[in-house]
């Protein structure tokens, strides 16, 4: 018992013992509680006139460096795993999935045509691009929002990431095969219109017509946001 009461400065040994016991009871109550405990609820279990706030403060101090901490949640207290050990409570489950054809196509266009806006992707593909597919590519870590094009509507520009290069084994984005190489490997047919061109991809600095993204820019379409606003008022 002396370990606990040792922390309490009391002239009277009895009072020290009572405080020690109160601490143990409060500790047990907090541990067993199904939800954060209001100190009031502990009162019936403690000695008369116990300073509950002070007991809670002492317990907080006792657990400060432990694997679990006593934390305040609103007006109540609860034991919780120390924040720096939060990883113990998280498991990662990974699943391997092939990228869908649509995602692959969008990925390829972004790679070659970057910086490219969503509507430019749609122009090349001829079909609408779902936000979900772009999200998958961003979740995969291969596509990033680069900035916003300095044109009406200020659309987001997309580009590839270093992880993209890493995954596809490219040293630089310029290693992507050009028109003649694509023809040479038979991926593009030899008979293409004379004006058919494959752009030289660039994943570097912002272009002159691109603005950087603000830190809190979540990439939402500005026009959509605007109309949402209009709708609300």
């Amino acid at each position: 018992m002396d370990q606990n009461t040792g922390q309490v400065i009391d002239d009277d040994n009895d009072i020290g013992e009572i405080t020690g016991r109160n601490l143990r009871v409060l500790e047990a109550l907090l541990f067993a509680a199904k939800e954060p405990l209001h100190l009031e609820e502990a009162k019936p279990f403690l000695s008369d006139g116990a300073n509950i706030e002070d007991l809670a403060a002492q317990l907080s101090e006792k657990y400060k460096h432990s694997g679990v901490n006593l934390v305040k949640r609103g007006e109540a207290y609860a034991f919780r795993t120390a924040e720096d050990l939060g990883f113990l409570l998280r498991r990662e489950e990974t699943e391997r999935k092939p990228l869908s054809r649509a995602a692959l196509e969008i990925m390829a266009i972004i790679a070659y045509h970057q910086p490219v806006t969503r509507s430019e992707i749609e122009e090349v593909r001829g079909v609408a691009t779902s936000k979900g597919t772009l999200d998958v590519l961003m979740e995969a870590g291969w596509v990033r929002m680069r900035g916003r094009r300095r044109t009406p509507g200020r659309p987001v520009t997309y580009g590839t990431t270093p992880e993209f290069l890493d995954h596809f084994g490219l040293e630089a984005i310029t290693d992507l095969p050009g028109l003649n190489e694509l023809k040479g490997t038979g991926l593009l047919s030899a008979n293409l219109p004379p004006d058919f061109a494959v752009p030289a991809p660039n994943d570097g600095d912002l272009f002159d017509n691109e603005d950087p993204l603000d830190a809190d820019d979540d990439g939402d379409d500005l026009l959509t946001e605007l109309s949402q606003d209009d709708f609300d008022h």
Binding site: A28, F31, A32, A33, K34, E35, P36, A78, F79, R80, T81, L89, R90, R91, E92, E93, T94, E95, R96, K97, P98, L99, R101, A103, L104, E105, M107, A108, I109, A111, Y112, V124, R125, G126, V136, E139, A140, W142, H167, F168, G169, L170, L176, P177, L182, T185, L187, L188, S189, N191, L192, P193, F196, V198
Partner: protein, 240 residues
């Protein structure tokens, strides 16, 4: 004695209860007295026409036998247990049952989980993050690019059509070139004006050769080649 047999969990339970009423340690109990109490108890309830479960009657029979063995020792019979052995057996069973009852009592009086002792009331569960690892090869990527770029090439674009001699064209040209002459002429010589055009060279050679074979078959031409890869000679077949 007005004890309902239904209050007991079997004959052993009844015997244990009777033994406890002797208020002595089970080790010092009078088995004979106990047997007599049990038998008279069973008699009483049978007199009252209460149905007695079979195991109580089996026990009664066994106790009657025990009683007779205790009172009249059978020394000659070695296979059968002696009265003392039977009494010890009964004592052992009673002691064991009592011991288990005491143990159960001790067990249930221990501090129990969720009664006196508590586990963490609000356990922190493990959260599983599901993460996809997307798979795509470099070739998939390039093919996806090429396929959709080609898909978007405007439909009205028509690639330059190559000059192709049809067999009929070749036959007409051949007939005109050879004319009425009956002399052997190298095939490539009479085609020389076409063979200089790179886009027509292959089709001119292939089609006129095939046409010449057809014309030979029809008896209009004769073909001759004097050595392998030598010039192919051609002349109009003379009409008989």
């Amino acid at each position: 004695m007005y004890v309902d047999v239904k209050g007991y969990e079997g004959p052993l339970d009844l015997l244990l209860d009777l033994a406890r009423k002797q208020k002595v340690d089970l080790a010092n109990i009078s088995v004979l007295a106990l047997a007599e109490q049990y038998l008279s108890f069973i008699d009483t309830i049978r007199e009252r026409r209460i149905e007695v479960a079979a195991d109580y009657l089996v026990m009664a029979a066994w106790l009657t036998f025990l009683k007779s063995r205790l009172m009249v020792p059978h020394e000659d019979d070695n296979d059968e247990p002696t009265g003392e052995e039977m009494a010890a057996l009964l004592q052992f069973r009673l002691k064991r049952l009592e011991a288990m009852r005491d143990a159960a009592e001790k067990l249930i009086n221990r501090p129990q989980l969720n009664r006196e002792i508590f586990a963490r009331g609000d356990p922190e569960s493990v959260v599983t993050d599901r993460k996809n690892i997307w798979e795509a090869t470099y070739f998939d990527l390039l093919r996806a690019y090429a396929v959709q770029r080609e898909r978007q090439i405007p439909a009205e674009y028509a690639p330059k059509s190559r000059t192709v001699w049809s067999l009929q064209d070749a036959e007409d040209i051949l007939r005109r070139l050879i004319g009425e002459g009956a002399d052997w002429v190298p095939l490539h010589a009479c085609l020389s004006q076409y063979l200089d055009l790179p886009e027509e060279r292959i089709t001119a050679l292939a089609s006129s050769f095939t046409a010449s074979l057809e014309m030979v078959r029809q008896g209009q031409l004769e073909l001759r080649q004097s050595k392998v890869f030598g010039p192919l000679m051609v002349r109009r077949k003379s009409v008989e």
